[in-house]
Symmetry: C2
């Protein structure tokens, strides 16, 4: 098996680690604009060797795991270079702009628009870990636009690394993911900002913050280079979720200002059903 | 050792589990307005037997681990009933109102105002776990108002279950904790609300939410009975932190609306230093 990963970071790197584990005969090639990342990935055993676009002709799989703005320009070039039997897939957190970017490409049928819902707050080749995708969901958009035979091969790969598959149109994907992923990142970044701005003496944060704070600001460690283009590409949906979130926070603040504690209790109690939702999520993993 | 825990839940229950582990001869008594909790705690081995206020005269330690509004009325009664050598301490997330409630009590010197920064999102006797306080911080307010000999005994107990001690005045405590704990809870509850309101078909949440969403909404599972009185007692500080948080979110939204992606990148990058802050927190644990 001949695998190429373009952008050797958390997602692409973790994926090829799993592939190498399952298919020891696979040769893992890497392409990255950051030469240090290529060398680091080789040293860490994440990839076997460096490659370039000319080599893609013989690839079985090309994983495009770069920030979503870069994906827009890289994907058409990758498809240009890909062979007849090559499967190219992306892993980006937005799907509409990416699907549009390749919509009229002559090799559109070699492309699978994917979004594996997996990750950590770390980035770069050293963030690659085995088993990251086990029990996670992979959302595939416009599956009907991919050649059936290549679909099958891609699905087999995704399932072999433990992923559940869910099909969705790109617009629904971008709308829903704004709520359950993009908004969480902004809420976390702005929570971090609010506390850092206030507590100039960081010692106080160290000493008083518990696991609850840590949990809510974890995503504020995420990479700005990855997240800025996601917010840009999904601007309309993200602005909408932010407006709703701000309205809910403002309403909560007003309840507090007006001493409406019964209503505050009820608000929190009705949100408590997130327990069952999260239990449901974990039951599937 | 004669220990009484009033309010047998996550914090009080976990504390007596640790005490019983370290001091097997200790007799653990429990008082709870919910008789089911008393029976459950006995069945789970969290407490040895039920007690009542008359028994507090011979107590070495009385742990008052009830919602902070209940603590205001219970603490003076506990001190009324306590013996000369009894150490009474609370574990509440607000300290000013509680310190004021006992300020003029004749047995004020038997009281230690404490806030162990530890917990999970669960509640009730079944939430009690061993080792919850290991490496965590216990904030003690107005330590000078406690008899020196009883201070020493209380500190020995806190240190024996693994806690670091930090002294603080009640006003600073309430101000700082609003940022690193109370605000996190509201951000999490309102994030949960925003997503639940939107996604009437919960299946979509199950399938698309990843570990990032789970991390940011974890605190939305917390008990409204515990948190409503905390927000009430620390209203002024909580409203202030909420206003700052909402302003930061609104500013982020405006940057997005105006396509100021460089500024968005810079915002996130400057908050990334939360990595080092969180690493610093964990290094101490």
């Amino acid at each position: 098996m001949n695998v190429h990963v373009i952008g050797i970071g958390l997602i692409g790197g973790s994926m090829v680690l799993d592939i190498k584990g399952l298919y020891p005969e696979a040769v893992i090639h890497g392409i990255d604009t950051n030469e240090n990342h290529v060398q680091e990935a080789i040293a860490l055993g994440v990839i076997d060797k460096e490659s370039n676009f000319e080599d893609l002709k013989t690839a079985d799989f090309v994983i495009v795991s770069v920030p979503v703005d870069v994906a827009m320009t890289v994907l058409p070039k990758v498809l240009d270079a890909a062979g007849e039997q090559t499967i190219v897939f992306d892993v980006g957190s937005t799907k509409m702009p990416i699907c549009e970017a390749v919509a009229n490409h002559p090799k559109r049928r070699n492309f699978v628009a994917a979004h594996p819902i997996a990750g950590t707050e770390f980035s770069g080749p050293s963030a690659a870990i085995k088993g990251l995708f086990e029990g996670k969901t992979n959302i595939i958009c416009e599956v009907e636009k991919t050649t059936f035979k290549l679909q099958e091969k891609a699905l087999e790969l995704f399932k072999s690394i433990g992923m559940r598959i869910r099909y969705m149109d790109p617009k629904s994907h971008d709308k829903h993911i704004a709520y359950v992923s993009h908004l969480s990142h902004i809420s976390s970044f702005m929570l971090g900002k609010t506390v850092i701005n206030k507590e100039k003496d960081e010692q106080d944060i160290f000493d008083m913050a518990g696991s609850g704070f840590e949990s809510t600001v974890r995503l504020a460690k995420s990479s700005p280079a990855m997240w800025t283009p996601i917010f840009k590409q999904n601007k309309k949906q993200v602005v909408k979720t932010l407006e709703e979130y701000i309205a809910n926070l403002s309403n909560f603040k007003e309840l507090l200002v007006n001493d409406e504690y019964e209503a505050i209790f009820d608000e929190m109690q009705s949100v408590n059903k997130i327990r069952e939702i999260l239990n449901g999520m974990n039951a599937k993993k």
